[in-house]
Amino acid sequence: MTKPTPLGFGLGLRAQHYAEILNTNPEIDWFEVISENYMVPGGQPLRMLDAVRERYPVVMHGVSLSIAGTNPLDLNYLAQLKNLAQRVKPKWISDHLCWTGVHGMNLHDLFPVPYSEEALQHVVSRIAKVQDFLGTRIAIENVSSYITYESSEMEEWDFVAEVAKRADCWLLLDINNVFVSGFNHNFSTHAFIDAVPVDRVVQFHLAGHSEGKHHLIDTHDQAVSEEVWQLYERALQKFGPITTMIERDDNIPPLSDLIAELNRARSISASIFSKVAA
C-alpha cells in the first residue's frame, strides 16, 4: 500500500477567487474542490474548474456521500461523482465519516455515527462498495460533532482507525475537527492524533471555528486558531510532511489572506522537517 505523493500546500477553490487565480497563477501547490459545486450540467463552474485543472493538481472533496447513512447508496449521486472524476482526474476523492440524511430528508449537515461494531461494519461495507464503483481508494474525513451516542462502544479515534484498516481506505485528518470535537466532548486531542495510523493519512484540513454558548462550532468562517496551529505541529511531527490545506467556506477573505495562512503552514512544516534533516 503506497500512499499518493504529497501535494504540498493547497486551498479550497472558491468562486470569489477564480479570476485572481487564473490571472495571477498564485503560488498554491494544489486546489481542493467541493465535488457537488461542479456536479452541474455545464457553464462557468465547469469551465473554471477545467482552467484551474490545467494549471494545478486538484483533489475532489464531497459533502453528500452519506457513507454512514442507512438509506441505500445513492447511485445517481455516485454516477455523477464518477463522471466528474473522469473529467477532473483528481489526485484523490474524499468525503466525510458521517450520515447526511435518511428517507428522502437531506439534512445538509455532517452527523456523526455511534462508534459501535454495528456502525463500523455498516460503514466499512459501504466504503468498499463506493471504492469498487469509483475504481479507487477514497479518503474519509473525521467530522466535528456536537453529540455523542448512548450506543457508542469505543472512542472516535479507535473507530476511525478501524474503519481505515478494515475498509482499506485513506484518511483525511481534519485537525480543526479534532480540536472542536475534543472540546465539545472533553477528550484529549493528543490521544486522537496518537491513535490515527500514519500509513493511512493522506491529507490534513486546517480551518477556523466559532465559539457557541456551550460548544465550539465548525464554521470555517474565520482564520485557523492558535490551538489548531499547535495541534497541526504535533500532527506533522507524528505523520510527516502530509498534504495540507486551509478550508474556508464562509466570510471568505481576499486570496492573499488565505495564502498568508497557507504560508504559515509551510513555515511550520519547514521548521519541523529542517530540524529533522539537520
Partner: protein, 267 residues
C-alpha cells in the same frame, strides 16, 4: 441490517425537521450544556443552511423584500419543501411555485415573478454546454442548404411571461439602485433567458420575435419562420424581419450549433 442505526437516524432526522424529541433517547449527556443544547446546533444549523441556500439563489428578491420578510418566507418554504436532493444546488428550485400560493405575497405578484426570473437566470448559468451558431458558420453555409436546415435553440434558454414591471425592478436591484414602484403592465411581457459565454442574460421579446423564437424551439427552418411571420405583418418585409431576428439571435449565442444541423460549431 443496522436496525439500531436505522432507528437512530430516523429519529434524529425527524427531530431536525419537526419538533420531535426522539433524539433525546439516543444521544448521551453532553460534556457541556444539555442534550437539547447539543442537538439544537444541528436543528438550528438545518434552518440556517437552507435559508442560506435560498439567499444565495434569490439575491434580488432578498434585497427587494428585506431580511426579515425573506427569513419568514424561507421558514415557510423549508416547512413546505424538505430538501429532496443531496446537492444543495437544487434546493431552491420550487420557490417560484411556492410563492404562487404564499399568502404574504398575495397582493405583490412581482415578487413571485422576481423569483421566477432569478431561478431562470440561475438555471441558465450552469445548464448544459452547447456550441452556438456563429456568423462565420452562417457565412460558410450554402444559402439553399441553410433555408431548409432545422434550427435549434440553445439548451440554456428559458421563456417567461410577466404581467408586472418585474424586469425593471430586477435591473434596478442589480445596479444597487432604488427599484421602481411595482405596477401591472398593459400587456403581458415575453422574456427569453439564456447564457451567453459564461453569463446569464435576459431580453424582452416583441410578439413577433416571441412567436419566431417559439418556432425555433420547435426546430423550424428559416424558410418556415419567414412564412410564419409573414402572417403577422407585411409579407413583403417578412424575410428582412426574419433575417434581422436571426442576426440578433446568432450574435446573442441563442442558437445551438448541432452536428445534425450541419454546423460544426465554434463557440
Amino acid at each position: 441490517m443496522t436496525t439500531n442505526l436505522t432507528k437512530i437516524q430516523n429519529d434524529l432526522a425527524l427531530s431536525v425537521v419537526t419538533n420531535s424529541l426522539a433524539f433525546a433517547h439516543h444521544i448521551a449527556t453532553p460534556a457541556h450544556g444539555k442534550k437539547s443544547d447539543a442537538f439544537g446546533i444541528y436543528k438550528h444549523g438545518y434552518v440556517l443552511r437552507l435559508t442560506e441556500f435560498l439567499a444565495n439563489d434569490y439575491k434580488a428578491l432578498r434585497t427587494y423584500i428585506g431580511e426579515k420578510n425573506f427569513s419568514q418566507m424561507a421558514k415557510k418554504y423549508i416547512e413546505a419543501y424538505p430538501s429532496e436532493n443531496p446537492n444543495a444546488r437544487w434546493y431552491s428550485k420550487h420557490l417560484p411555485e411556492f410563492l404562487k400560493s404564499y399568502v404574504a405575497f398575495e397582493f405583490n405578484p412581482e415578487k413571485q415573478e422576481l423569483a421566477a426570473l432569478e431561478l431562470a437566470l440561475n438555471d441558465a448559468f450552469d445548464s448544459a454546454d452547447c456550441n452556438a451558431i456563429t456568423l462565420q458558420n452562417l457565412s460558410e453555409t450554402e444559402q439553399s442548404e441553410f433555408l431548409k436546415t432545422p434550427l435549434h435553440i440553445h439548451p440554456s434558454s428559458r421563456r417567461l411571461k410577466f404581467r408586472n414591471n418585474t424586469t425593471s425592478i430586477w435591473s434596478a436591484l442589480k445596479c444597487e439602485a432604488e427599484p421602481p414602484k411595482p405596477h401591472a403592465l398593459d400587456q403581458m411581457q415575453e422574456i427569453v433567458v439564456w447564457r451567453q459565454g459564461t453569463s446569464s442574460r435576459f431580453r424582452l421579446l416583441g410578439d413577433e420575435e416571441a412567436m419566431a423564437l417559439n418556432a425555433v424551439a420547435d426546430h423550424a427552418t428559416f424558410s418556415q419562420i419567414c412564412e410564419l411571420i409573414a402572417f403577422m405583418d407585411g409579407a413583403e418585409t417578412a424575410s428582412l424581419r426574419a433575417a434581422s431576428y436571426l442576426k440578433g439571435w446568432v450574435e446573442a449565442e441563442l442558437l445551438a450549433a448541432t452536428e445534425t444541423a450541419g454546423f460544426a460549431a465554434v463557440k
